[in-house]
């Protein structure tokens, strides 16, 4: 995969290296701004609220109504 990419990058080695670094930077940026923020709420590390929805997202309870959990 990496070999295939390297062979298909245009130009001499320094140019290829530069393009490769830009590609890596772009992928890291995409991960940090899109993929990881999307993934984060699906994992349990950041759950701090009590909720009875059964899902991992934070949902609050209606006030006053007795909770179904004794």
């Amino acid at each position: 995969m990496y070999g295939w990419i390297w062979r298909h990058l245009p130009g001499p080695t320094p140019v290829r290296l530069l393009i490769a670094l830009v590609l890596i930077a772009g992928i890291v940026l995409l991960l940090f701004t899109v993929v990881f923020p999307w993934l984060e709420p699906l994992l349990p590390f950041t759950d701090v609220t009590v909720d009875d929805s059964g899902s991992l997202t934070s949902v609050t309870v209606p006030t006053g109504s007795p909770t179904p959990f004794p």
């Binding site: 995969m1 991960l31 950041t46 701090v48 009590v50 059964g54 609050t60 909770t67």
Partner: protein, 234 residues
């Protein structure tokens, strides 16, 4: 033969790539979310201080119509900060903005107020949630709280000092900790209470760490910080 070699190499490169992505995710969770949340928390706090300064000259007419014991709280809008929470036990000068709402976006800006719970100082339960790990982790050391510790809520015009009484660890579905009288369905509240919630254990989040307290003192901002904050220099 060539095809097999390519396939094996491709699999190996895929594995290495996956490992690097997972490492990057750890960096994102452990470092980057804190960097972003700390910046957002600071900005939220600054905005609230500025809003308070901007609106404060107005409600300073002659204090003739002596307000009832608790002044009416300023209007609160979702995802906006309306107060600060001070917990001297967690760190000297510990202060975080309290944001209305407990969505992940709200909790990344400070401590979140359950919208279904009452406002500070009001009879009933003032319930807030905060991250224990990642995203600024304001409640990282909530397990260091002790009975008798003060949690001070600072609104535009009032200091509310709550004295914490006890903690417990509950299931994530135990929503009755947020009731007007926690864990007592159907019981009417008679005093202003506070509930703090965060995850437990710190990195697993299979349970919730809960702290309860009751209002022990109220004083206007004009009277200066409450005794609980005086020692630490607020």
């Amino acid at each position: 033969m060539h095809g097999l070699r390519t396939a094996i190499r491709g699999t190996g490169e895929g594995m290495i790539t996956l490992g690097l992505v997972l490492l990057l995710f750890c960096v994102y969770q452990l470092v980057w979310t804190n960097v972003e949340a700390n910046a957002a928390t600071a900005a939220t706090g600054d905005d609230l201080r500025e809003a308070w300064v901007a609106t404060s000259p107005e409600p300073a007419p002659a204090p003739a119509p002596a307000p009832a014991s608790a002044p009416a709280p300023a209007p609160v809008t979702p995802s906006n900060a309306f107060a600060f929470i001070h917990i001297p036990r967690l760190a000297p000068g510990f202060v975080k903005p309290v944001v209305e709402g407990v969505t992940p976006a709200d909790l990344a800006k400070g401590v979140g107020h359950y919208p279904t719970s009452v406002m500070p100082g009001v009879v009933g339960n003032f319930a807030v949630a905060g991250h224990r790990a990642t995203n600024g982790e304001p409640f990282r050391e909530l397990d260091k709280l002790r009975a008798g510790d003060a949690v001070v809520i600072e609104t535009a015009d009032t200091w509310y000092t709550y004295t914490m009484s006890r903690s417990e660890i509950v299931k994530p579905t135990q929503t009755d900790v947020l009731l007007p009288v926690p864990r007592s369905p159907g019981v009417s509240a008679t005093e202003p209470l506070i509930t703090l919630t965060t995850c437990n254990p710190r990195w697993a989040s299979t349970e919730r760490l809960i702290w309860y307290g009751a209002l022990s003192g109220t004083q206007p901002k004009t009277a200066g910080p409450p005794p609980a904050l005086a020692g630490a220099g607020a």
